[in-house]
């Protein structure tokens, strides 16, 4: 399989490491090799966090600017910040109000790069479902609805299921199913 590159971005505290773990565990269960890169230390105190995840037989962990297949961001500004990583024809998923996304200033660039932007208000949905800290799960589910890449919605949902501790399982799966449906309506 050709290496598939995911750039995940967001703010400190939004649970980007858990998000990475869900993708990575799913890929591992499918028998793929994975390499990723994370943010730690002083850099982590800054608020802007990014995680690179490469599924396939690659030797280096960082995704080159212009080489990511997917950019999934838990924050609108952090989606723009890491936009240069998306390749031509890459897919963009952001936690943002759909009617105002993307920012007009980048629409031309997205067009020329044939990048398809998709947005849902993941934080708001998570909040409404009583889990304000589950923007990460909401974005995974939203992304999974479009059936792109080597990890299916069923695979990702199963990983969320097994990695959610008892008291959170039901809530997490509810968020997953709700946000999956939001995505399905846009397909």
């Amino acid at each position: 399989m050709k290496t598939v590159n995911y750039v995940l971005s967001g703010l400190g505290g939004q649970g980007i490491l858990f998000m990475t773990k869900i993708f990575a565990t799913t890929a591992l269960n499918k028998g793929y090799n994975i390499l990723g890169a994370e943010t730690h230390g002083m850099a982590q105190r800054g608020g802007s966090v990014v995680s690179h995840l490469r599924i396939g037989d690659t030797k280096s962990s960082l995704i080159r600017a212009g080489a990511a297949d997917f950019l999934i961001s838990m924050d609108e500004s952090e989606a723009y910040r890491y936009l240069p990583y998306l390749k031509k024809g890459g897919k963009l998923f952001a936690n943002a109000p759909g009617d105002a996304f993307p920012d007009k200033q980048i629409a031309g660039y997205l067009d020329r790069m044939e990048i398809e932007p998709r947005a849902m208000e993941a934080s708001r949905t998570a909040m409404e479902l009583g889990s304000p800290k589950s923007t990460n799960l909401a974005m995974i589910a939203f992304y999974s609805a479009f059936g792109m890449g080597p990890l299916s919605a069923d695979d990702l949902r199963a990983t969320v299921d097994t990695n959610s501790p008892g008291p959170f399982k039901e809530k997490n799966l509810k968020i997953f199913d709700t946000c999956y449906e939001v995505g399905r309506k846009m397909v």
Partner: protein, 619 residues
């Protein structure tokens, strides 16, 4: 067989235990900090008898490991690259003396830098200390190299340095492994004073022996596959070849695979020093030019020596500073290929355009800040309030971020909060100026290298106020236990060190302890301390600002939750979110009003006291 999606530092930890490392010491520092906790985790899970220690500094860690190694055990010592500076004296000397059991030093580099004060290249330290060095390209290779490092160290009786860069330490990779076993080699130190306590005469002989070892190790490195490899085709010559080590070597292999380019050979040097002369010459002979891509300095580039053929930092082809991220490496290769009339990999214009576009969006600047409820913020507020005109020398830790509050004027290295305070005092008092100075330093940093600084300052009658920010933990690097607490990293009991006793033992006569959450009390104490320090019969005044870290000890740090609200008395001066800089306070751009972000607020209540118009009150 088990499989984990391991942090690179976890892969290194696994490699250490697979190699039978018996003694492991470290001092935390990004990007090395997770190695020791991962060793602890594996040792516990696999029921190993590994001895694991957070030492008070890197030199102490090194010496502990060295003693174990000359007793015949396999020992390792881990640190960040600036930590190797602290251990440099031991490091250089140990190379001459050599060891019996394997001694592996892991010094993690931070090209970027992401979380460090320099971008120094540990391979340069290896060169300076005449210590063989291995330079891994990804977590899996780092894990394997640790085993090779131990074997080399025992074969040649010399310490071996492994230099993982941050992209290894904080990469993650799926790693498969088998069950681990304890190494039961017993300590057996054999006295040999001419070796272990050698005088200069014997040092000369040891130096000679070390140089002879280097010739043999270089010979070995000529064929140390798979770390040192090239893919020259027999009988073929090339217009351009790539010479690369560490992380960039694998990035380049991936790039060539992605662009399906097989016309440019790569010499990968994962074991660059002692330099594999013959192997490198073989490669150079077949290439009209070579481009050297290495992090972070010019180790291989200098050792290649052939100026007429070599492109790299010295010819302006490779940036002299900063991390060599893949897009930069791509640009470096494109330029070298173009210069050698070879078709480049790509036009690489699109990514540049995108970075430019992002610049124009004026995205929120997210600079590092202290956490909501951090006791350091309260301390800095009080210090500035009490002594607004002072010079504020500070140090390395979370509290370096006090610079955002204007209460950190200098950061040199670990321990310099105190040494620079005495230096400033001396510089001003020569002109008969009693300069107000308030130094700050964290508890872990104080034990690391503050005590010698304090003893020196007391003895030489320097005058300043020192505030030791005691939050019970080494927070910035990931919550390693402080030695003031009695629980060691592996759960065993430690003999907790009392900070007050040490400070008094340094000869300090004025010592007060305060909870920084009580800003009124702290302001008063800082003023009082300054009065004492600058009086004729005074001396250095030390204040311990003691409050547990809000992340490491959530319940203890906020014993009583004090929810707050902003009243209509607020005149939007912005002090609380710009100068006091609490991330939980912000200006709502639409209403132009100061608001509280209740998701971030930990309800410490400190802002009630600092608010200029008394406009933040208990909700």
């Amino acid at each position: 067989m088990k499989e984990e999606f391991l942090l690179g530092n976890g892969a290194i930890a696994l490699g250490l235990l697979e190699a039978g490392c018996q003694i492991m010491t470290s001092y935390p520092g990004t990007p090395s900090s997770e190695i020791l906790p991962e060793v602890t985790r594996f040792a516990k899970a696999e029921n190993l008898n590994t001895s694991i220690e957070w030492s008070v500094n890197e030199k102490v860690a090194f010496d502990n490991a060295f003693a174990a190694a000359i007793s015949g055990k396999r020992a390792a010592c881990c640190m960040k690259m600036v930590g190797l500076n602290v251990a440099a004296d031991s490091f250089m000397s140990a190379a001459y003396i050599g060891n019996i059991g394997g001694l592996v030093i892991i010094s993690c580099d931070d090209p970027g830098p992401h979380s460090s004060q320099t971008e120094q290249d540990s391979r340069m330290m290896a060169r300076l200390g005449k210590v063989p060095v291995l330079d891994p390209g990804n977590p899996e290779e780092a894990r394997e190299m640790i085993k090779t490092a131990f074997e080399l160290s025992e074969e040649f009786q010399v310490p071996v340095l492994v230099r993982p860069a941050i992209r290894i330490c904080h990469a993650r990779q799926n790693i498969r492994y088998e069950s681990l076993k304890s190494n039961l080699t017993k300590a057996d130190f054999k006295k040999e004073p001419t070796r272990w306590a050698s005088t200069p005469k014997f040092r000369f002989l040891q130096h000679k022996a070390l140089n002879e070892k280097h010739i043999k190790i270089s010979e070995k490195f000529n064929s140390l596959t798979p770390y040192n490899t090239h893919n020259l085709e027999k009988g073929k010559t090339y217009d351009l070849g790539v010479v690369a080590g560490g992380v960039p070597a694998f990035v380049i292999q991936d790039l060539f695979a992605e662009y399906e380019r097989e016309d440019i050979p790569i010499l990968k040097l994962g074991a660059p020093y002692p330099f594999p002369e013959k192997f490198a010459d073989e490669f150079m002979d077949k290439c009209a030019k070579v481009i050297v891509v290495e992090e972070t300095d010019t180790v291989i580039e200098y050792m290649l020596r052939d100026k007429s053929k070599t492109l790299g930092r010295l010819t302006g082809h490779v940036p002299m500073e900063g991390e060599l991220v893949p897009e930069k490496i791509e640009a470096v290769l494109n330029k070298a290929m173009t210069d050698c009339s070879i078709e480049p990999l790509s036009a690489d214009a699109m990514a540049q355009e995108a970075f430019g576009l992002v610049q124009t969006l004026e995205l929120p600047i997210r600079k590092p800040t202290l956490c909501p409820g951090c006791p350091h913020r309260a301390s800095f507020y009080s210090i500035r309030k009490a002594m607004p005109k002072a010079i504020y020398p500070s140090d390395i830790g979370c509290y370096t971020l006090g610079s955002n509050l204007g209460v950190v004027d200098t950061v040199l290295d670990m321990g310099a909060g105190i040494t620079m305070a005495s230096g400033f005092w001396n510089a001003y008092i020569q002109d008969d100026v009693k300069k107000p100075i308030v130094a700050t330093m964290g508890d872990s940093t104080f034990f690391h290298s503050g005590t010698t600084a304090l003893i020196n300052a007391v003895y030489n009658d320097s005058r300043f106020v020192l505030v030791i920010l005691d939050n019970y933990i080494t927070a910035m690097t990931g919550m390693q236990p402080a030695i003031t607490q009695d629980k060691r990293v592996d759960g065993r009991k430690g003999n907790a060190i009392e900070l007050e006793t040490i400070v008094k033992g340094c000869g300090v006569k004025y010592l007060k302890v305060v909870d920084p959450f009580d800003t009124k009390a702290m302001i008063k104490i800082v003023k009082d301390a300054a009065e004492y320090a600058y009086s004729d019969d005074g001396s250095i005044a030390v204040i311990i600002a003691r409050h547990p870290c809000v992340i490491g000890f959530r319940d203890q740090a906020i014993p009583e939750k004090i929810p707050v609200k902003v009243t209509d008395d607020c005149n939007e001066c912005g002090f609380c979110h710009t100068s006091f800089e609490c991330p939980a306070l912000y200006e709502d751009k639409e209403n132009e009003k100061t608001e509280i972000n209740h998701t971030l607020c930990v309800e410490c209540g400190v802002c009630i006291d600092i608010r200029p118009q008394g406009a933040i009150v208990r909700a």
